[in-house]
């Protein structure tokens, strides 16, 4: 029994170490957009996501970004941030880990 607890302890410590890897909170993305009056419509970003081959679950405003929750064709759960004025795909997360970032985007 003791060894089982030891294994679990290692698992917890291991997970803690993995947590120490640098990452960006996906709630902190800054797209650098102007006032909402200049934004494209929500439906357009939905279409944009659909064009990626994704199945869109939800689109919402997050800070100064459009945030899309979607599934890729392989069924991967992803969160993508689009610029609300240019509709450019800026950054994509999969389960808290960044899997895409537009060249030069620092937000």
């Amino acid at each position: 029994m003791k060894t089982a607890f030891h294994h679990l302890r290692y698992a917890v410590i291991g997970a803690g170490l993995l947590a120490a890897q640098p990452a960006l909170a996906d709630g902190d993305v800054k797209c650098g957009a102007g006032p909402q009056s200049g934004w494209k419509e929500l439906g357009q970003v939905q279409k944009k996501a659909w064009q990626q081959g994704w199945e869109v679950l939800k689109v919402q405003v997050e800070g100064d970004c459009y945030e899309v929750y979607a599934r890729t064709q392989q069924g991967q759960a992803i969160e993508a941030f689009f610029h609300p004025e240019t509709l450019e795909k800026l950054v994509v997360f999969r389960r808290g880990r960044e899997i895409f970032r537009k060249d030069g985007f620092k937000g």
């Binding site: 993995l18 996906d26 709630g27 939800k58 069924g75 991967q76 759960a77 880990r97």
Partner: protein, 198 residues
């Protein structure tokens, strides 16, 4: 342990209410499965925390009436935490839809920590009955301590998914506080017992 009868039934009704509302919302089509992941997981973590807090509190303050009642409900809190983690898993399965997609992401740290947390809680919940308690003897208490790794893994799972430190720390802090307070109280008591200066 809670006595059978009305108080226990009312207590369980209260514990089950948020879950019932989540299921009703989901069945009614008002919310997506992904929107229920957070509330169901959070309930599981909070119930685990409540189950874990009472032991140290009794060590610190002694068994008053309030703490004794809380202790009597501990098993129910733990089993309810398991029920919410099972609900969490159910919503996850609905959200992912494909088993292949679930297996595919099982290797990701934010996901396997969640699975491991669930398994530890499952093991503890499966022996949360009098028969297992009698049969396992001293090992029963050791096995019940699986709730600690379940809780910590649950917190890490939560943290890795969104990198929001606030909620993770808010749920971890009470446990750290009571553990520290218990350590200090026990040391003071031992020192007094041995006639050492405190």
């Amino acid at each position: 342990m809670l006595r059978r009868g009305l108080p226990k039934a009312v207590f369980w009704l209260v514990l089950a209410l948020p879950g019932g509302l989540m299921l009703a919302d989901f069945a009614g089509g008002g919310v997506l499965a992904m929107d229920l992941l957070h509330p169901s997981g959070e309930m599981a973590v909070r119930l685990m925390l409540l189950a874990l807090l009472v032991g140290p509190l009794i060590d610190i303050f002694g068994p008053g009436r309030f703490l004794r009642a809380w202790l009597a409900a501990r098993r129910n809190l733990g089993v309810a935490a398991f029920c919410y983690s099972a609900l969490h898993l159910l919503f996850y399965a609905f959200d992912m839809r494909m088993l292949s997609a679930m297996l595919d992401e099982m290797v990701l740290p934010p996901i396997w920590t969640g699975w491991l947390s669930f398994l530890a809680l499952l093991a503890a919940a499966s022996i949360s009955n009098d028969r297992a308690m009698r049969r396992l003897g001293r090992r029963w208490k050791q096995l019940q301590r699986l709730v600690y790794p379940a809780f910590l893994l649950g917190i890490v799972h939560w943290l890795l998914l969104g990198w929001f430190w606030g909620p993770a720390l808010v749920h971890l802090l009470p446990l750290i506080l009571v553990w520290t307070a218990r350590f200090l109280a026990l040391r003071k008591r031992r020192a007094r017992h041995e006639g050492l200066p405190t």
